[in-house]
Symmetry: C2
Subunit: 187 residues, 2 copies
DNA sequence: CGGGATCCATACCTTAAGGTATGGAACGGG
DNA sequence: CCCGTTCCATACCTTAAGGTATGGATCCCG
């Protein structure tokens, strides 16, 4: 199957794009085919049905925008440097598509499962990064939760997400994190 | 119209309940009527069509869980006391329904408009509260954004939202806010 | 006690989206 | 050159959800 992989990837890109600007209800087989200039025959040839396509699309998203980026961050040893990278990674995520996926997860068990895996992976990675940076476990856990919540909130509050205000807010968060407070860190 | 207002409110309660445990795609006329033990005739009698019902339902939510609570908070003068109240208010919100509405807003312009009004009202109230508590305007703005983002993140990360972890996280946030840092506050 | 208004049940229509069946064009290997 | 496989177009089916038309039941009010 030499000229086939390309086609599949085209469906993924088109899917994420549709999600970003029409939401999950805009991700229909008809819309996908229209955007790619084909008809439903093509879609049902490459993917058995909608559920199959969705599973592959989510797998693509998970691998590309979670697993891969987390591994990238893990390759950095210096804690401060790693948080720099993490902030850049966060700002560069496909916020539109991610927000739509999160919304979508409220109406599909399949999507909810993928979303939960991605959240869990990001959360545990953030917690590890916090511990590496010297926070106590409980405090690192809360820091991770707050950080991920802020990412989610920013993704959902602005449409499209504004790079500038996101950097501002993340900067404030890191400033708070850096504050010396032995009593709290003891946790 | 004496025995009518009751019926309308029943539709609102049923609607928020359906949203909370089936998401917006579960909020169908058929599901509403089934839950209330009536048929579609009743629905179309009370509300012209689905769009009309949705508009009224959102208005109910906005008035009950945004406008009213903000006014309540504004009646408290002491800044510290006000933040205590705000935390209690936040924890007590109908998180399931609110999360579903936020997800829904990605697929309906009407819902998106209501959601934006509620977000804007909460955001500007939080900013005012921050200024009253002694933060500089820019810092108060970021604090408000972070706080609302955390609420949103917590609403979406846990299903159902856990009261305990929410209080933990809010506590950490307020601890950070209280840290003395003249340089940052100068902003 | 008659009549209009309120409230809702029943039956039917329409549309959009997923899904299926089938055939045809292009392309490569034997 | 032929045949099978890949890839996709066309036409049709099915289902779910919004919406409409109509009639009946109840209740208040004059």
């Amino acid at each position: 199957m030499p000229p086939e992989g390309l086609s599949r990837n085209a469906y993924y890109e088109a899917g994420l794009e549709l999600l970003a600007d029409r939401g999950h209800s805009g991700l229909t087989i008809a819309a996908l085919c229209e955007q790619l200039g084909v008809t439903k025959g093509s879609f049902y040839h490459h993917f058995g049905d909608m559920a199959g396509y969705v599973a592959l699309l989510l797998g693509h998203w998970e691998a590309e925008h979670a697993t891969r980026l987390i591994a990238l961050s893990e390759s950095v040893s210096d804690p401060e440097e790693r948080f720099d990278l993490l902030q850049k990674i966060a700002v560069g995520l496909p916020h539109g598509a991610e927000a739509a996926i999160r919304a979508w997860s409220w109406n599909s068990a399949l999507v909810a499962a993928a979303q939960q895996r991605v959240d869990e992976a990001r959360l545990s990675h953030l917690t590890r990064a916090g511990v590496d940076a010297g926070l106590g476990p409980a405090r690192a856990w809360r820091m991770a939760r707050i950080s991920l919540s802020v990412l989610i909130g920013m993704q959902l509050l602005e449409r499209p997400a504004q790079r500038a205000s996101m950097e501002d807010v993340f900067g404030e968060l890191r400033h708070w994190m850096a504050v010396e407070d032995p009593a709290a860190i003891a946790l």
